[in-house]
């Protein structure tokens, strides 16, 4: 078996037993990237040299009996909105790419990409991964600044779905999802503002975990919407996700919103099963336009949990219908603020020949941002502007309170909520590109979780008739990743997916 077919947990064990070396598995990942990059474009930049150097160091540590822990020597990837010292960070945007960068995602281009915005310090999650001993393979593609659901809004071009390269891998963490699904890394970090980890995980048949807001530090994570953003893992298995979460979670002095919650061993109770677990099926999450195969998969998952000893009941989250509207006001408002710093003054793209300050700003930003980012900046600016602030921004935050209360009420009766992650499986590239509203609807089931700051997990459960993965979403109480992971593990064990992507 080639090492890339192993899960993160399995490769960790193999490394511990000395069956493989980190250099071997890192080399295997890099050659897997060589194989898939031109066809699928998961990466924006690849740091082969750096990853191999870290792999060598890891092997040396292990030889000296100083291995650091389960992730030592296990190569992973970072979504390219997470900064790493010395590596370029583009956030999928021309505004952070080097001027003159053709923004190609060809293998040659991503291996050669070293310029653009280069952070002088690691993000906290990057640092924690490095301290755990993981070689960093590179940075993965994303919708520009995380704004999108298909990775087509990347300023570098789209990533393709390993199950069907004519289709989207979802987004915005589509690069991370595709890289994990294509076996190009053992795990990858993504960010999730309105479903950007869970939705691409569902569309590519991998596991995606969005932790409770405040569980993982956002320091060094390019902000889209601060009150919604959260970093989390995309992995092959639920156990892998738990292991990665354990590595990156925990209070951070550099993030005042990171919570002082103990880092648990989230792998400990994974196999405990769901006997006695109370599962809620939100009535409102069977939305109009939902793919029948997806709906069947969700009801099937509910049956599975019941068969395994859980009780399943229907619950209501009455304000779900307005969650999308509240989200688009809040997320764009915060985005319009967070993206004000890209002004061509201190770093990033500057328009040539701009006359005066006004033009320097307006022209640099017009040239640097793509259409979806501009649309959201404008929407958010409008929602915060004098005369509209109360009707839009404040109103949306009031509705957000109601959405949070819906969840509180539901979680008084049940332990987890089960739904589809995405209303439809992966759709053909280009299909929704000209219709922002229909694209926004792809996040309708994942967004409320961000508004309430809850932990959410997407687990693949089956394939559609035409062979596309379907994922289901499990939402838990704040800080209760453990229950969500345990329920997800139960479904994973029963999942009916017998093959890997790209192989019939």
């Amino acid at each position: 078996m080639t090492p890339t077919e192993l899960s993160l947990f399995e490769v960790s064990q193999a490394l511990a037993k000395g069956e493989v070396s980190s250099v071997e598995v890192t080399t295997a990942c890099l050659s897997r990237i060589d194989q898939v990059q031109d066809a699928l474009a998961p990466f924006i930049s690849v740091d082969a040299e750096g990853a191999l150097a870290e792999a060598k160091a890891s092997d040396a540590r292990r030889k000296a009996g100083q291995a650091r822990g389960p992730l030592d020597g296990v190569p992973v990837a970072l979504k390219d909105n997470i900064v790493a010292k010395g590596l370029p960070t583009t956030a999928g945007s021309r505004i952070l790419a080097a001027d003159g960068d053709a923004r190609s995602l060809s293998l040659a281009a991503v291996r050669a990409r070293t310029q653009g915005f280069v952070a002088p310090q690691d993000s906290t999650v990057t640092r924690r991964l490095r301290e755990a001993g993981t070689p960093l393979l590179g940075k993965t593609n994303l919708d520009e600044f995380g704004m999108g659901s298909s990775t087509e809004n990347s300023g570098f071009g789209p990533t393709r779905n390993p199950w069907d390269p004519t289709r989207t891998p979802g987004g915005s963490s589509g690069g991370s999802a595709a890289a994990v699904a294509a076996r190009a890394c053992f795990g990858a970090l993504g960010t999730d503002t309105g479903g950007s980890i869970r939705q691409p995980a569902a569309l590519t048949g991998v596991v995606g975990l969005k932790p409770t807001w405040g569980r993982v530090s956002r320091n060094g994570v390019v902000a889209f919407a601060s009150s919604l953003d959260q970093v989390g893992p995309l992995t092959r298995t639920v156990r892998d996700a738990a292991m990665m979460l354990q590595t990156i979670a925990g209070a951070d002095a550099m993030d005042s919103t990171s919570a002082d919650k103990p880092v648990q061993d989230w792998t400990a109770g994974l196999e405990d099963g769901v006997k006695g677990l109370k599962v809620g099926l939100p009535r409102e999450y069977f939305v109009p336009g939902m793919d029948p195969e997806v709906e069947r998969a969700v009801r099937g998952a509910a049956k599975t949990l019941e068969r395994l000893g859980a009780t399943v009941r229907e619950v209501s989250l009455p304000h779900s219908k307005v969650a999308l509207a509240a989200y688009y006001v809040i997320a764009t408002s915060e985005a319009s603020s967070n993206l004000g710093r890209y002004d061509g003054v201190r770093y990033g793209h500057r328009a040539e020949g701009a006359k005066g300050l006004r033009e320097l700003y307006a022209q640099s930003r017009a040239e640097g941002f793509g259409p979806e980012v501009k649309r959201r900046i404008l929407l958010g600016t409008f929602a915060l502007s004098a005369g509209y602030h109360d009707a839009y921004y404040v109103k949306a935050q009031r509705v957000r309170t109601l959405i949070r209360r819906d969840f509180e009420a539901a979680f008084a009766d049940v332990d987890v909520l089960l739904s589809a992650t995405s209303p439809v499986p992966a759709w053909p590239l280009g299909e929704k590109l000209d219709d922002p509203l229909s694209m926004y609807l792809m996040d309708v089931l994942t967004i409320p979780c961000n508004l309430a700051g809850l932990p959410g997990l997407s687990v693949p459960v089956e394939l559609t008739g035409s062979g596309l993965p379907i994922g289901v979403q499990l939402l838990g109480r704040p800080w209760d990743e453990a229950t969500v992971l345990r329920a997800g593990r139960a479904l994973e064990r029963e999942a009916k997916i017998e093959r890997a992507p790209g192989r019939a």
Binding site: A354, A362, R365, A366, T381, Y392, Q397, L402
Partner: protein, 94 residues
């Protein structure tokens, strides 16, 4: 809610985004459509419901000490234009 071209222009000025005439038209249509969709908010009864703010728990602030300053090369790395150790921009007339 339908935005007028002037409203779009005003918002674009506030956001410092230059829009071509075609972009302006497209933006006007798309933002108006999104705002129509967002209109659903208005129908929600939020009487007496406080807006969500400050999700994070209060935290003890850090001690007052100098830490984490960058070497000036790092500060200026990636600057589109620098003179000495300053970032340079086209002359600002006040």
């Amino acid at each position: 809610m339908k935005l007028s071209p002037d409203q779009v222009r005003h918002v674009a000025t506030l956001a410092r985004l230059a829009l071509s005439p075609e972009e302006l038209l497209r933006t006007q249509a798309q933002l108006s459509a999104i705002l129509d969709a967002v209109e659903a908010l208005a129908a929600v009864d939020t009487e007496g419901v406080p807006p969500t703010t400050a999700l994070a728990q209060a935290k003890a602030p850090r001690a007052d000490a100098v830490v984490g300053q960058l070497p000036v090369e790092d500060a200026l790395r990636g600057a589109p234009k620098a003179v000495g150790s300053s970032f340079a921009i086209p002359k600002v007339i006040e």
